[in-house]
């Protein structure tokens, strides 16, 4: 299998006012197409820092990062923008949707920045399909403040997928959600993963991590352990087993 992500001795040091903070100190890692990886670790262990670098939102201080065969650390600002636009989908803990902008328009947004623009009608159609796919087609014209956290995260996922990325990155995507909604979101990830999208997700909860196929644990900016998930949870099944009272 072709590696989607290949890290070699990746480091990130923040030059703060007092002493430099070594947030990531030598991570080497290979993730191949079709994997579903959960990144765990204590607070401050460098998970978000790593994810931001993987998402081309930030640059490493040293080391190499090959994304789908491209050496990212040598790319220009604009080239990184283009990678974020069509190779990577990023899902944030706090959703990061544009306020006072409808769900549909939020999902359309990445298409506006495509180097090969689509017709407005085509954009609308794709965005609508993506919203249907994450199960909130009926809320297309709602703005984020008219949506629940879980619904907002669905919009964010639809947005991250709109330009058909090869890699989906999610930094604590269920951090702000209740357990049922979390499982629903994880169900979407599992479905996408089954369709061939590589998923990388940061989480604090072992339960959440168990929906993935591989768990990486970080500590002090380094990988502590890297294990395959033996008994993987299936979101669809878990949802069926949930007590009926909690169903909305």
């Amino acid at each position: 299998m072709a590696p989607i992500i290949q890290l070699d001795d990746l480091r990130k040091t923040y030059a703060s006012s007092e002493e430099p903070v070594h947030a990531v100190r030598g991570v080497s890692l290979t993730i191949t197409k079709g994997e579903f990886v959960a990144v765990m670790g204590t607070s401050g262990s460098g998970k978000s820092t790593l994810m931001n670098i993987l998402g081309c939102l930030d640059r490493p201080t040293s080391g190499s990062y090959l994304l789908d065969g491209i050496e990212v650390s040598k790319l220009s600002r604009d080239q990184l923008s283009d990678l974020r636009n069509h190779k990577i989908g990023f899902v944030f803990q706090n959703f990061n949707l544009l306020a006072r902008t409808s769900a549909l328009e939020n999902v359309e947004l990445p298409m506006l920045y495509r180097r090969t623009p689509l017709s407005p009608a085509k954009q609308r159609e794709k965005a609508m399909a993506a919203l249907e796919m994450v199960g909130i087609g009926k809320r297309a014209d709602h703005t984020p403040n008219q949506l629940s956290g879980g619904q907002q995260q669905r919009v964010a996922i639809a947005r991250s997928l709109i330009n058909d990325p090869v890699l989906l990155l999610a930094d604590e995507p269920t951090g702000n959600l209740d357990s049922r909604t979390s499982i629903e979101i994880l169900g979407i990830f599992q479905r996408l993963n089954a369709q061939g999208i590589t998923v990388l997700m940061v989480t604090h909860e072992p339960d959440v991590a168990n929906y993935s196929k591989r768990i990486i644990v970080m500590r002090d900016g380094k990988i502590r352990s890297d294990t395959q998930v033996a008994k993987r949870f299936d979101a669809a099944e878990e949802l069926r087993n949930l007590p009926v009272e909690t169903t909305p």
């Binding site: 931001n52 998402g55 939102l57 930030d58 600002r77 604009d78 923008s81 283009d82 990678l83 974020r84 636009n85 069509h86 990023f90 944030f92 990061n96 949707l97 544009l98 306020a99 006072r100 947004l109 990445p110 506006l112 920045y113 495509r114 623009p117 947005r159 991250s160 330009n163």
Partner: protein, 406 residues
């Protein structure tokens, strides 16, 4: 990003904060309106001067007492007292091609009729004056050479004066007015001419024979100005030359001495008058342009605030793949849209102001395409210029920093 989409995004952002957008554009609105209205006022004045000087006839010329280079001009035309009535007679008698000649004396005076009083301009002229100035009559007619010879107590008055004292123009005809206690009979009411350059009302006047003015009212012996009209088809330059040598000879000035009079043809007067009003127009336009710049600074200020406020939005856009140039365009288009909308509203406001000014004052406002295009282009330039710095600031934000911004 498509330009069309960028404009759409900009409009949305501006509509989201309608009041703020309006207040931000206010500087530009006022600036553009000021430029257009000011230049319009300047142009109106210019056009009026041109019309007036043209009304003098292109065959007219004026002789002023005093030399043009020795304070004659700066001290006011005709203040030197070197022209005499005999000069005027000599010109009429001796220069071929001269059609009409009128000495002109003037002063300000109080006139009265019954218990009505009015302070107005007094003009003492010859009978030729009305044909030289091409000034017609609403009622009655001009006085004649005979009246001038006898220093008759007859007067012709302007519309404003007539209305102020007698209520209507018709009423004035045949009535007696006292000019410094000397009774004059009104034999004509002049057709209205409107306001002059710098807003003086030309119809606020009373015109009497110069002989009467000099002897009975003003008590002067010299005349400040002689106006001459040249026969059609005769060369004005030739007449100027002949008058010059005649006056030099009459004033016994050897050829190397500077003449003690100044001759201005209609053409020169036009040039002088338009030069003055051009300067005024330019000055007004310049002052108004400053307000456009101030308006631009207002836009820059709000755009900077807006960039800071929307740091998170910028972070989100960058995170999903917007390039720096996309963000730059977004904010630049916002600034330009703001200034262009301001410009459009300003143009509307200028027309409104012009209508109001013309309604409530005698000042003509003459709006031309030039200042509209100029101020519109200027406001677009202001938008680009003052929007660029905030836009570049937005575009150079680091995606992760922007996303973390609280």
């Amino acid at each position: 990003m498509r330009l069309q989409t960028s404009f759409h995004t900009a409009f949305r952002a501006l509509l989201r904060n309608k009041l703020r957008s309006l207040l931000t554009a206010l500087g530009i609105i006022i600036g553009v309106a000021a430029v257009i209205a000011m230049v319009g006022i300047g142009n109106g004045a210019k056009k009026q001067v041109e019309d007036q000087v043209a009304a003098l006839g292109d065959n007219a010329l004026m002789i002023f007492a005093g030399s043009s280079s020795r304070g004659g001009m700066s001290g006011g035309f005709g203040s030197a007292g070197t022209l005499t009535l005999d000069d005027a007679f000599a010109i009429k008698r001796d220069i071929p091609g001269v059609q009409g000649v009128t000495p002109e004396v003037e002063g300000s005076t109080r006139i009265s009729s019954g218990n009505q009083n009015w302070f107005t301009r007094l003009n003492g002229v010859a009978a030729d004056y009305f044909s030289i100035r091409m000034w017609n009559f609403s009622f009655g007619g001009p006085f004649e050479e005979r009246d001038v010879k006898t220093a008759a107590k007859v007067a012709v008055i302007g519309k404003t004066t007539a209305v102020e004292i007698f209520g209507t123009e018709e009423e004035a005809l045949g009535k007696v007015v006292r000019i410094r206690n000397v009774p004059f009979t009104i034999i004509g009411v002049l057709a209205p001419k409107g306001a002059s350059f710098f807003g003086r009302d030309q119809d606020d006047t009373i015109v009497i024979p110069y002989t009467s003015a000099m002897k009975r009212v003003l008590g002067t012996k010299t005349i400040p100005r002689i106006t001459v009209s040249v026969e059609r088809g005769k060369s004005v330059a030739m007449v100027v030359e002949q008058i010059t040598s005649l006056l030099l000879q009459r004033h016994r000035l050897p050829g190397d001495r500077e003449p003690d009079f100044t001759i201005r043809t209609q053409e020169e007067l036009t040039t002088m008058a338009t030069a003055t009003s051009k300067t005024m127009t330019t000055l007004l336009g310049f002052v108004a342009s400053i307000s456009l710049i101030v308006g631009g600074i207002g836009i820059m200020n709000i755009m900077l605030v807006s960039v800071t406020e929307r740091t998170r939005e910028i972070g989100i856009r960058l995170a999903i793949g917007a390039r720096g140039s996309d963000i730059l365009m977004q904010f630049l288009i916002e600034a330009v849209t703001l200034s262009l909308l301001g410009g459009l509203i300003g143009i509307g406001l200028a027309f409104l102001a012009a209508a109001l000014i013309m309604h409530f004052s005698p000042m003509p406002v003459y709006i031309t395409a030039g200042p509209i295009l100029y101020s519109f282009a200027f406001s677009a330039a202001v938008g680009v210029l003052f929007g660029f710095y905030p836009a570049r600031k937005a575009a150079s934000l680091d995606p992760i920093e922007a996303l973390r911004y609280e």
